[in-house]
């Protein structure tokens, strides 16, 4: 294995540069996304011109968006956002209309021709799904109310975007009925794939996952295979990778395994998405950038401000509170990196009488993306701080609250990690003391049982951060862990709130002493407790055998009739 076919210079330089810049970004508290975009600009034709977009980089960046959207789909629990669907649809529709008009007016006013204006408008109307999703996920805000609104709007936009891509890739744009047919076909296909995803996660996948979810490795391969199945299906049908991946994730998002799967797929996604963001810069040439840079800067400023107010008006209109509206709007102020793709495709399209679209348009759109994406990265990163600073300016807006109560949160609850016989036997006592109980367990045999219990059931390994977030570890009052795994116990003690009561399990005195040292309230040593009892029995046995027989009789009966009814 001496070949260096993949581990090639371009790829190594790209990753290493991205890593170094990401470390610097982290140190200077900048969003890592900026580091990745800079990587591409530095290494690409704009600055050093030492790395070109190789096949592997192309593949990985494709997989990057695919897996990001897959994760996003997993993140969407339909039950949780049901109440939001209507307002989101309305916002998305109006936003598209209003922003398209804004995006149309600006270039027209800047002196572009009508055709150019149309292309630019189509290119710059979208928000950048990967950017918003990545930044919100990094900040753990994707499940907040503004996060859900934004992501919902972006997804609807993406569907609209893919339709436009389909338009540009069509051979001719002259025939209205052909366009209509293409659109109709597209919508039908999306609906069919969505239905396949949904139905299989209702009837087919639960059975499969039950068999394999305990094996970490197999479980992961299944998740990836499922994503590829839909990616393959949608590329075969001429849809985009993103739509397929999103629909695949959406189905899995409705299953109890979602948190564990998210945790496993996230590192893979992070890896690919770094390449994706870096590769944006690789495609830009220096000549592209200089042609219309002034126009692009002006347009960017107008667009950022305009987009914010359009979103603000629309979200507010749906009756969300001030803060949600503000955050939901400030997250959506960028031009999508897809605009580059759309522009690239448009450049090649012959529009008949209107003539060909110039290459400089691509430069114009690129500059807008380069300006608005980093700006919005900062806006998203510091959205709360900005809101605090400017809150007083928004006083005139009344605070009517119609949505948002539906998102339930765990608070002052009990968490049981690992559902074994003991957990089952102490559960009634815990339920007596706590209104909310979360059980985190990774045994597939318990899935059906626990889904019926009146507890918040989370499938997964508590060692992983997703599971700890889902169980709201930082908010819990009582944590009883049967995990018997040192990393899990350490993580619990590290992240729980100070006054929380923590019970943990240890096999031997050494571990027990360590856990006490870290702050555990009580370390359960089953064997020691059991030995105490056993010694009592043996003492009785030595003194009075009949008495011993009587005593163990009760135990035997309770073992026989107690325990799980399996």
């Amino acid at each position: 294995m001496n070949g260096i076919s993949l581990i090639a210079f371009d790829f190594i330089i790209l990753i290493v540069t991205a890593t170094i810049l990401a470390i610097i970004a982290k140190k200077t508290k900048q969003p890592p996304l900026i580091a990745y975009i800079l990587t591409g600009l530095i290494l690409g034709p704009v600055l050093l011109n030492i790395v070109s977009e190789t096949e592997v980089i192309k593949l990985f960046s494709k997989l990057g968006i695919g897996f990001l959207l897959f994760l996003l789909g997993i993140e969407m629990n339909i039950k949780e956002i049901k109440g939001l669907l209507k307002p989101i649809a309305s916002i998305a529709l109006w936003q598209t209309v209003l922003q398209t008009s804004l995006a149309f007016i600006i270039p027209l006013a800047l002196g572009f021709t009508l055709v150019e204006t149309i292309v630019i408008a189509l290119c710059t109307v979208f928000g950048a799904t990967p950017v918003v999703v990545k930044l919100l996920a990094d900040k753990d805000e994707i499940n907040s109310l503004p996060g859900k609104i934004d992501v919902g709007v972006l997804i609807l936009q993406d569907i609209y975007l893919v339709m436009i891509l389909a338009l540009f890739s069509a051979e001719s744009l002259t025939n209205i009925s052909a366009i209509g047919a293409a659109m109709g076909k597209f919508l039908v296909l999306v609906a069919v794939i969505g239905a396949i995803s949904y139905l299989s996660t209702q009837y087919f996948l639960p059975k499969v996952f039950k068999k394999i979810a305990e094996n970490k490795h197999t479980f992961f391969v299944y998740g990836v295979a499922w994503a590829f199945l839909f990616i393959g299906m949608s590329t075969y049908l001429g849809l985009s990778i993103e739509i397929g991946a999103f629909l695949a994730g959406l189905g899995l998002g409705q299953m109890p395994y979602r948190n564990e799967l998210k945790d496993r797929v996230r590192p893979l996604t992070n890896f690919f998405i770094v390449i994706f963001f870096s590769s944006i810069g690789l495609t830009l040439g220096i000549s592209n950038i200089t042609a219309y840079w002034l126009e692009a800067v002006i347009a960017s400023i107008i667009l950022v401000i305009g987009n914010f107010w359009i979103m603000f008006f629309l979200i507010k209109r749906q009756g969300f509170d001030k803060e949600t509206t503000f955050l939901g709007s400030i997250n959506m102020t960028q031009v999508s990196e897809f605009s580059l793709i759309v522009a690239t495709m448009a450049v090649g399209v012959q529009t008949g009488v209107l003539g060909q679209i110039g290459h400089d348009i691509l430069g114009y759109v690129s500059v807008m993306a380069i300006i608005t994406i980093p700006v919005s990265a900062y806006l998203i990163n510091y959205n709360h701080q900005i809101y605090e600073k400017v809150e007083h300016l928004f006083k005139p807006f009344k605070n009517v609250k119609r949505h948002g109560e539906s998102l339930k949160r765990l608070e002052n609850h009990a968490i049981i990690v690992g559902y074994n016989d003991t957990a089952q036997r102490i559960l009634p006592a815990i339920n007596y003391y706590f209104k909310q109980v979360a059980i985190v367990d990774r045994n597939t045999k318990n899935v059906d049982l626990l889904e019926k219990e009146p507890v918040e059931y989370i499938f997964g390994d508590f060692k992983h951060v997703e599971m700890r977030n889902a169980a709201a570890l930082t908010q819990a009052d009582l944590i009883i862990s049967f995990a018997d795994e040192k990393i899990v116990d350490e993580k619990i003690l590290e992240h729980c709130k100070e006054e929380a009561i923590v019970f943990q399990v240890a096999r031997d005195p050494t571990t027990a002493a360590e856990l006490y040292g870290l702050g555990a309230d009580y370390v359960i040593q089953e064997d020691a407790l059991a030995n105490e009892k056993m010694k009592e029995y043996l003492k009785t046995y030595l003194e009075n055998k009949e008495q011993f027989k009587k005593e163990i009789k009760t135990d035997e009966e309770s073992i026989m009739w107690g325990g799980r009814c399996d």
Binding site: H217, F220, P267, E556
Partner: protein, 542 residues
Amino acid sequence: MIELITSLTAIFLAAAAVLFIFNKLNHPTIPAYLVAGILISSIVDKATVMSLAEVGVAFLVFIFGVSLKLKKTEKVIESTLIITLGQIAAVSIIVYSMAFAIGFTITEAVYLAIVSSISSSLIGLEIMEGGKVKQAYKRICISINLIQDLVVILLFLILASIPLAIRTTIPNLFVGVILLSIGIVMRPLLSNLIENLKRSGEIAMLIAVSTLLIFTGIAGYAGISIVVGAFAAGLALSKPPYDEEVINTVEPLKYFFSAIFFVSLGALIVIPTISTLLIALGLIFTITILRPFITLLLIQIKGYSKGTSYMAAFNMDQMSEFALILAIAGFTALHIRETVFQAIILAAIITMITSAYTSRYLWEIYDKLEKYWFIGLTDKKYVDAKVPEDIEKHFIIGGYNEQGKELAHFLIGNDQKVVIIDNDPERILEAKQNRVNYIYGDMMLQGTWEKAKHEKAKMIIQIASVKNLLNKTLELETKADKVLRVRTVKEAKGYLKKCTYVMIPHYLAVERLIEHIAGCIESESYRVRLREINKREMSWLK
């Protein structure tokens, strides 16, 4: 691009399908991937996919390197170093001379020898648990596999420079040693870096991948095997506790790319020719029969009991993952012919699957074979026991672990006669020091129990909660009361009517537990007191 995505789709769908069946049959993962590869060999674009597969190899070896705990490793290696080196030497000499005699080239004979002398491995992760592994034979397996892995990495360094010549081999060795040393030197630096970044998962992953790419890149450009580079990179990131961070974030990448590696390896398999089949048969015989017997002999010479050495040796009756990497490396470097390559992959699939079966029925097979000479030198010489000839009305305790120890000493304290049985030399040593009657032997064997005078005992307490041991204890003909320790209520139900009492630790423990929980919730002072008392007691016990 589209073709690549189609290939990847095919790879993962086939892997998922075959894994489903293999999981059901309790078969291991890797042969499942190889079989999946065979199924889709016509669809996959092999040349491009193979370059992704290379990344899989890098990640596999990298994670192995990361999970090596240098300190623990030393300890683990010590116990079986001579056995392992002896085993590797013996098997490779036999295979090499056979292969050479039949007419293989020297290089091919060397490859065949290496491939057949190492067993399944890349078990780095298990080593972390090394301290926890209680059964002696498992500890031996882990140790032997670890040493083999390290030997193989060295061999990669040498094999890459075939044909051996001082002009190329010495510089190669030099580069390898330098890479490894850089890896070790960088350990503290990189762990500081990760600590400094507040253990951000994403950046830890990037640092890990960058390190891996740089090391493998250097290895690649210097013309040595990327396996060595990946291993050095792993070492660079192996410093606890950050290794956990690295493993957690890089493991999905390893799964992803190693799946691609193994499936695309499977895709290279063609319908075997007669000579391929013959070579494969030879390898299978060596791996499943010849090598285990050599290992068994060596372990016994070292002083382990018959049963332990049998279990250890026959648990390693499969081909190594490293052998697969070696095979493809040799094939692409034109060191071995296609027939040899095909035979190695074929033998790997078969031995990995058969091994899953043999390990399931090992004890049953042992019961049948135990009486024959070839299972071992006579047991007498090695079995150690101290039991008074006239003992009666005594307690026999199976397993001298924490629980067994506590109960044994409790009974001795109450003027009872006690015999303990264990097959772990370390525990026996402890029993000797504590002046407890002991038998060093396998509880699966009738002879062991006879030595313990089970028919005259008052009570037998079986602490080892292993199914076949529990059953063996139940089968013993004696009037003694039998107490079994079992882990779950479900299992306990099966034993309830067949013995005097079944102790389930958590069952006995649960009442006290509920008391403590309620106490902590209701009263802060209860909580403080409970913690203080137990904390003190634990640190005292420790």
